[in-house]
């Protein structure tokens, strides 16, 4: 069952930036996705995520909408300025779809409603990575 996700350039594991202030959720996702061959960088806040993105490249970012220091939309704006071609998936609570749709209008790839199943999330990440690769190729 453990496949190896590929990076934007088609070489090495898929590099995923996971941003969520719910530490327990962050930790378990990191472990499970890691086990599925992704190179996961789990960050508990928006500001830290921006710092991490400055230092490293990622194929896909998954950002929680509601966080303590910066909310997902603000993080998305910064991400899109820094790395416009990197697909960003928004995680949102049920009932906050309106904000998530605003995120899509600002350049997010798509949104998923929490709690979502791991398989659903991974499928969406793969889809985004593939779309991201296409964009990168065109660039």
């Amino acid at each position: 069952m453990e496949g190896t996700e590929t990076s934007r350039k088609g070489k090495g594991p898929l590099r995923l930036l996971l941003v969520d202030d719910e530490l327990g959720y962050l930790a378990v996702l990191e472990k499970r996705m890691g086990k599925r061959g992704m190179k996961v960088t789990a960050v508990p806040s928006g500001s830290e995520a921006i710092g991490v993105l400055r230092r490293s490249d990622f194929d896909v970012a998954v950002v929680d909408l509601k966080m303590e220091d910066m909310d997902g939309i603000e993080v998305l704006k910064v991400f899109k300025k820094m790395v416009p071609e990197m697909p960003v998936i928004i995680l949102t609570g049920h009932g906050s779809e309106k904000a998530a749709r605003e995120g899509i209008a600002m350049g997010a790839y798509d949104y998923l409603t929490k709690p979502c199943g791991l398989e659903e999330l991974i499928a969406k990440i793969r889809e985004a990575a593939s779309a991201g690769r296409d964009t990168a190729d065109k660039v």
Binding site: M1, E22, V28, R32, H94, G95, E97, R101, K114, L118
Partner: protein
């Protein structure tokens, strides 16, 4: 009853104000118009009567002057020998009678002692002695004298015109008797209506003409009136003199006057009088006021009737108006109360919604972690080191159960959040079937309690609709809730929510097997505040809001119902014109 008591003072105030404001001008107009008409009419009647009396005064005066002048002419133009000769007198009398149609009854010459020395006439009065007669005494010292009416020696009413005839140092008197009947006719002819009559009375209260009815009992009152009249005339004359207008110069020209008095018989009488014969006689015309002013009284009755009808109409209108205003106020108050109730209810629901949303959010994260952690255990169990023992299998089963229950928790929190979230009016593209399914899911629990089976019959391949998902959800939930309320509480029933495509629109049909809606109510179910639920149970706004939402979307909502069989609502919603990327997680 409480309401009626509450509105009673307002109702009475409105009633009083309307009546007061409307009737006051009416009373003023009636009073002013009535008074003006009354005065004008009385003035007119007075002028008419005064003219009548004045005319007759002139007639009577001319009669008397004429007869006096005739006798004077005879006295001065004939010789004493002719005047003292019976046959000559008879000739003159015949000429007079011929000229004056029998007004002169007889002629006589009376010497200084009162003995009649010559006589012509039909009575046996030759050599009659008048030395003690009142008229003789009065006439003796005067050049001309006109007596009052008296019976005299002949025993018939008459009066005398006497002219002094000096001859041989003695003063003789030529006297002529004027026929009372002829004189009486002059005044008797003054007759107006049934009660208008005229007479002449002297200052001692003796009638000089015979009134048509017996007035002897009223003589003192008439004399009193005459006295007042003369006083008033003198006052006026003095006032006129003071401004240098010589109006009161001649006794004969005393102005006529108009008096109303109320004799004991109970009716008012209008009296107009004028002096005659230098004030010795007074010509009086009397008419009962009710007859003289009959037109005035008739008009007054008409005015009174108009006033009465007007007042009644005003009171009736005021009553109706106050009742209508009060009923409107009561309706507005009721609507306000309902709105207040609804606002309070909405407030409660909003608080409850926020609370539920908060709890759901808080639960979501731990549940997500639990599910993921169990997944992680599952991942680890895949490692070879754990093998495939019974215990491992049991652990895997337990993990699967945790994931299943985690999924249930997710469902529950989703429903809770769907219910609690605020209505978002933003229109998006909505999958009609997903919407219908979600609404069925949301009403599952309530349906279970109400023993109602909710079924969805969804058509495949429906286009998306352009609508606010939360508002559409509100509409469908409202219809479902109403349908459940319409079911028998013990027997339950069935609700079918189906989707279809018709006439370029997506149609949602919500059909129940409830009690149905009577024909009379069917027209009113979309009216605001129309409810058949008991007081406090329904605001009567649900269907009205649904109607508004669907109309706003450009759709329509219709209903079919049969009492005892059930009701079916049809919601027609326009399809989306955009063919953009479908939104996977909408609804």
């Amino acid at each position: 009853m409480e309401h009626a008591r509450h509105y009673q003072p307002i109702k009475i105030s409105i009633l009083l104000y309307v009546v007061l404001v409307s009737i006051t001008p009416l009373v003023l107009i009636m009073t002013i118009a009535g008074y003006s008409f009354h005065t004008a009419y009385r003035d007119k009647v007075e002028v008419q009567l005064v003219q009548l009396v004045e005319k007759h005064r002139q007639t009577v005066n001319s009669f008397l002057n004429e007869k006096g002048a005739d006798i004077r002419v005879i006295a001065h133009s004939l010789s004493f020998a002719q005047l003292s000769d019976d046959s000559a007198l008879a000739g003159i009398l015949a000429t007079l009678q011929e000229q004056h149609a029998g007004v002169f009854v007889d002629l006589g010459l009376v010497n200084q002692k009162g003995e009649q020395v010559a006589y012509a006439g039909s009575f046996k009065l030759a050599r009659a002695d008048y030395s003690t007669a009142d008229w003789f005494k009065q006439a003796k010292g005067r050049e001309f004298y006109l007596s009052d009416v008296f019976l005299g020696l002949r025993g018939l009413p008459h009066f005398i015109v006497a002219v002094r005839v000096p001859f041989a140092g003695q003063n003789y008197i030529l006297r002529a008797t004027i026929d009372f009947v002829a004189f009486n006719e002059l005044v008797e002819n003054i007759s107006v209506g049934e009660t208008g009559l005229a007479f002449i009375i002297n200052s001692r209260g003796e009638f000089q003409t015979k009134p048509r009815v017996d007035l002897s009992s009223e003589v003192p009152a008439i004399l009193d009136l005459i006295k007042k009249n003369i006083d008033l005339a003198k006052e006026r004359a003095k006032a006129a003199e003071s401004v240098a207008v010589p109006a009161y110069k001649s006794q004969e020209r005393l102005p006529v006057h108009f008096f109303t008095h109320r004799p004991d018989k109970g009716s008012s009488v209008i009296s107009v009088m004028t002096p005659l014969k230098g004030g010795d006689w007074v010509l009086v015309f009397q008419q009962e006021e009710r007859e003289a002013l009959a037109r005035l009284y008739q008009t007054r009755m008409v005015l009174a009737a108009v006033f009465l009808l007007g007042a009644l109409a005003i009171i009736a209108m005021a009553f109706l108006l106050s009742r209508r205003v009060i009923s409107r106020i009561a309706q507005v108050d009721t609507e306000k109360e309902m709105m207040n109730e609804r606002v309070i209810e909405a407030g409660k629901l909003a608080s409850l919604g926020e609370l539920a949303a908060g709890i759901a959010h808080e639960i979501n994260n731990p549940v997500a972690i639990m599910v993921e952690e169990s997944g992680w255990i599952g991942d680890l169990l895949e490692e070879k080191e754990f093998g495939d023992t019974d215990n491992i299998r049991e652990i895997r089963r337990a993990l699967a159960q945790i994931r299943t229950q985690g999924g249930r928790c997710k469902e529950i929190t989703h429903k809770l959040l769907s219910f609690a979230r605020k209505t978002d009016p933003t229109e998006t593209e909505v999958d009609p079937n997903a919407l219908a399914e979600e609404v069925v899911g949301l009403s599952e629990q309530r349906a279970k309690f109400a023993q109602v089976k909710v079924e969805a019959a969804l058509a495949d391949g429906l286009p998306r609709i352009r609508a606010s998902a939360s508002e559409m959800q509100q509409v469908l939930l409202n219809l479902l809730n109403n349908a459940m309320d319409a079911m028998d509480k013990k027997q339950g029933g069935k609700i079918t929510i189906s989707t279809r495509f018709a006439d370029g629109m997506v149609v949602f049909d919500v059909a129940d097997t409830g009690m149905g809606i009577p024909e009379a109510n069917l027209q009113r179910i979309f009216d605001p505040f129309f409810t058949t639920k008991p007081v406090g149970k329904g605001t009567g706004l649900g269907l009205s809001i649904c109607y508004g939402i669907i109309r706003k979307m450009g759709g329509k909502i219709t209903v079919n119902s049969a009492v005892g069989q059930g009701t079916c609502f049809h919601i027609h919603v326009p399809v989306s014109e955009q063919k953009g990327r479908p939104e996977t997680s909408l609804v």
